[in-house]
Amino acid sequence: MLEFPVWNVGGVGHGWMIGIIATLHVYVSHFAIGGGLFLALTEHYAVKRNDLPVLEYLRGHSNFFMLLTTVFGAMGGVGIWFVVGNANPSAISSLIHNFMFFWAIEWVVFLVEIAFAFLYYYSWGKVSQKFHLQLAWWYFGISALSLVIINGILTFMLTPGKWIETGNIWDAFFNPSYFPSLVLRMVIMASIAGVFAIVTSSRIKVDELRHRMLHYSAKWLIPSFFLMPFIMYWYFTTLPENVASLVQSGIDNIGAGNLSVLTRLLLLTMLLSVTIYVVSLIGPYFNPDKFSFGFSILILILGLVVTGATESMREMVRKPYVVYDYLYSNGVLKSVAADSSNYGIMKHNKWISEKEITSTNQKVVGEKIFRIQCQSCHTATGYRSMKDLARGWNREFIYNRLASLTATGLMPPFMGNDPERRAVAEYIGDIVKAPPLVAETTK
C-alpha cells in the first residue's frame, strides 16, 4: 500500500521499538497463563495437605502476580497494538480486517480473565477454600483460552497457509503452525511460571518454607527442558522455508545472507535456556539454602533474553514478509509488488511534498522514499544501517543493487521508477560517502 506516513524514530529502528515492547509483553503474558496454573495446582496441593504456610506464600505470590499481569501484562498487549499501528499500519490493518471478530472474542475472554483475576485475589481468606480453588482453576482455564485464540492470529502471520488462495478466515486461523505453536507456548509458560515463582520464593523470610518453595518452583522448569527440543522440531517442520538449510548456512558461514542470525539466535536460545535449567537445578532445587534473591533476578533476566531471542527468531524466519506471501515488511502487498519498476512511489504516496524530482531536491526526496520503503527494517546510521550494509559501494552499484533487492530472499522489491530509484541511490551514496557520479551518468 505504501500510502501511510512513516514514523521517524531515528537510529533505533522500528524493529527495536516493537521488539522491546513485544518481548516484555510476551514474557509477562505467558506468566499470566503459566502463573495461573502454578497458583491453581500449588493451591490444590496445599489445601489437600492443609499446608497453611504455603497458602500464605501463595497469597503473597498472587498479589505480585495480579499487580504484574493485570497492569503491566495487559498494558503490554495494548502497547504492542499501538506500536505496531505506528510502525506498520498496513500490517495491523490487514490483521484487523481479517481477524476483527477473533480479536473481539479475545477481548471477551480477556475481560472475563481480568474479572476472575480480581475475584480470585480479593477473595483470599474470605471464602471457602473449595470455592477459592475453583476460582483459581477458572482463571487458569480462561487465560489459557486467551492463548488459544490469539495464537491463531500470531501464527497466521508466519504461515497463512491455504488462506492465501481461499481467503477463508478459518484457514487463516487454523493455519499450519497453529498447533505446534500452541503446544510450544503452553510448555514455555510453565517454565516462565517457575522462574517467577523462584523470584517470589527467594523473598520468603522463613528458612524452611523458602527452601521448600524454591525446591518446588524449580521443578516447574524441568518439563519444558525435555519437551522443548521435540516441539521446536515439530514447529520448524511447519515453517515455510527450509529452515534446516537456513540454519546450516549460518553454522559454516556468518556472512551468507543475514539469515545466519537465525542460527545465532538458535544457539543463543539453547545456551541461555540450558543455563537457566542448570542454575535452577544447582541452586533452588538442590541447594535452596545457598540461593539468594539476587541470583533469582539474574535467572529472570536470562529468561527475558531467551524470550527476546525466540521472538526475534520468529520475526527472522518471516522475512521479507510481515504476513507471509501476502504483505511485505514495509507494507507492500505482494500482488502489487509484481510490477515494481513501473510503480511510481511518488504517485501513490502523497506524503512526499515535492511533486517532482529535480537535481536540487533529489536527495531530500530520496530520503523520504527511503523512509517510506526501507525504514521498517533499516536506518541510515543506526540499527541495520545503510552506513554498514552499503559500506564501500559506489553510487552506480547502489542504484543497480536497488533493482535486485529480492535476489537476497530477505527483502521486498524496490517500488519505484528510474528517477525515484536514482534518488534513493544518491541518498544512500551520501550516507556511505561514495564519490559523486560523473555528470553523464546522471540524467
Binding site: 500510502e3 499501528g85 476483527m100 477481548w107
Partner: protein, 374 residues
C-alpha cells in the same frame, strides 16, 4: 476518493462484518468505556480534592467525611482503571476496522505522543495502587500518588482528544508531516475544537464521578455520611454539568459550519432528547442532594443521564462522519464481507463470558456472606 489529500486507500481486505452491526458494537462498548472512564478520571480528581480538603480544613467532621470518602474511592478506582482500559480495547478495535485509514494516519503523525499513552497508564495505574495499598503507611504523602495519577490520566485524555480530532481533518496532515519530519511529535493545538472538546469530556467526568458519589451516598447506611456524600456528589454533578453547558456552546461554535449543519438537520432529534435527559438528570440529582427524596428519584436521574450520554456518543460519531464527508468519504464506500460464523461465535462467547462473570460474582457474594457468618 480525494486525489490531492494524502489519505491512504482503505484496506484491500473487506470489513469482516455488517457496518451497522459494527457501529452498534462500537457505540455500545464505547458507551461503557466512557462511563467507566468518567468514573475513573473524575473519581481520581474528586478523591484528590477530598484529600486536599481533609488536609486544609479545620473542621474535624468534614475531615473525617472526606477521608472516609477517599478511602472508599481508593478501593474502587484501581478496578475502574482496569475496566476502562479493557472496555477501551473493543471500541478501538471497531473504530479501526471502519475508520482505519484515518485513524492510523493520525496516530502515526503523533506516534511518539500516542505511544506514550501506554507508559502513562502504567504509571497512573501503579500510583493508584500505591495510594490504596499505602493508605495507612503513607498517610501524609498518599495524596501525591492521587495527584500524579490524575496528571497521568488527564494527559492521556488530552492525547486521545488530539488524535481523534486530528483523524477527522486530513486537510492538515501533509503540512504536519512535512513540518515534523515524521518525528511523531505533534500536538493538535491549532484545532479550534480541541480545548472545548477536551474540557467537555473532562467536566463530564467530574459530573459522572459526582453521580457515583451520590449513588454511594444513597447506598450508605450511616445517615451522617450518607448526607455528606449525597450533597458533595450532587454538588459536583450539578456544577460540572452547568459548566458543561457553557463549554458545550463553545465546542458547538468551534465546529466548522459544514459538519455543524447536522445538528440542525439529521441530529436534531437526537440532540434534543439528549438535552432533555440531562435536564431531567440535573433536576433529580439536585433533589437528591439538596432535598429529601426517595432513592427512586436518584435512579431516574442516573438513568436519564446515561441515556443522554448514549445519545451524545451516537451524535459524536455522526459528527465524525460529517467531518469526513468534507473529504468525500462516506460509509457507503466500504466493502463488507461478513464472517457470519465468527460473528455468531463472538456473540456466543459474549453470552457465555458474561454468564461466567455473573456466576462468579453471585457465587462470591453468597460465599462472602456464608464465610462472614461462620
Amino acid at each position: 476518493m480525494n486525489e490531492i489529500l494524502p489519505i491512504p486507500s482503505p484496506d484491500p481486505i473487506a470489513v469482516p462484518g455488517d457496518i451497522g452491526l459494527i457501529l452498534f458494537l462500537l457505540y455500545l462498548t464505547f458507551f461503557i468505556h466512557v462511563v467507566l472512564m468518567n468514573v475513573m478520571l473524575g473519581g481520581i480528581f474528586l478523591t484528590f480534592v477530598s484529600e486536599l480538603v481533609s488536609r486544609l480544613t479545620k473542621d474535624g467532621a468534614v475531615r473525617e467525611n472526606h477521608i472516609h470518602l477517599a478511602e472508599k474511592m481508593g478501593h474502587i478506582l484501581p478496578f475502574s482503571v482496569s475496566l476502562t482500559v479493557t472496555f477501551g480495547i473493543a471500541p478501538l478495535l471497531f473504530v479501526q476496522s471502519i475508520y482505519g485509514q484515518f485513524f492510523y494516519t493520525s496516530s502515526v503523525l503523533m506516534a511518539t505522543i500516542w505511544l506514550s499513552v501506554v507508559l502513562l497508564i502504567v504509571i497512573g495505574y501503579y500510583s493508584l495502587y500505591a495510594y490504596t495499598r499505602g493508605f495507612e503507611k503513607w498517610a501524609n504523602r498518599r495524596y501525591l500518588f492521587m495527584g500524579l495519577s490524575f496528571v497521568m490520566f488527564a494527559t492521556i485524555a488530552f492525547i486521545y482528544t488530539n488524535n481523534l480530532t486530528l483523524m477527522q481533518t486530513p486537510q492538515k496532515w501533509l503540512e504536519i508531516y512535512t513540518r515534523t519530519n515524521g518525528s511523531g511529535w505533534h500536538w493538535n493545538m491549532d484545532e479550534a475544537t480541541l480545548i472545548p472538546r477536551y474540557l467537555h469530556f473532562l467536566f463530564s467526568s467530574f459530573a459522572v464521578a459526582g453521580l457515583l458519589v451520590t449513588i454511594l451516598g444513597v447506598r450508605e447506611a450511616d445517615v451522617n455520611r450518607s448526607g455528606f456524600m449525597k450533597k458533595w456528589g450532587g454538588l459536583w454533578f450539578v456544577v460540572a454539568t452547568l459548566a458543561n453547558v457553557a463549554v458545550g456552546f463553545a465546542f458547538y461554535f468551534a465546529i466548522p459550519e459544514g459538519p455543524r449543519a447536522i445538528f440542525g438537520g439529521s441530529e436534531h432529534l437526537n440532540f434534543t432528547i439528549a438535552h432533555i435527559m440531562f435536564f431531567v438528570g440535573l433536576v433529580c440529582i439536585s433533589l437528591t442532594a439538596f432535598g429529601k427524596v426517595k432513592p427512586a428519584v436518584t435512579w431516574i436521574g442516573v438513568v436519564a443521564t446515561f441515556v443522554g450520554i448514549a445519545e451524545k456518543i451516537v451524535a459524536r460519531d455522526h459528527l465524525r462522519q460529517a467531518y469526513l464527508k468534507e473529504v468525500n468519504w462516506t460509509l457507503d464506500g466500504l466493502k463488507t464481507n461478513p464472517q457470519t460464523d465468527v460473528i455468531l461465535l463472538f456473540f456466543a462467547f459474549l453470552i457465555v463470558g458474561t454468564g461466567a462473570m455473573v456466576w462468579g460474582i453471585v457465587k462470591l457474594r453468597k460465599e462472602l456472606k456464608a464465610h462472614a457468618t461462620k
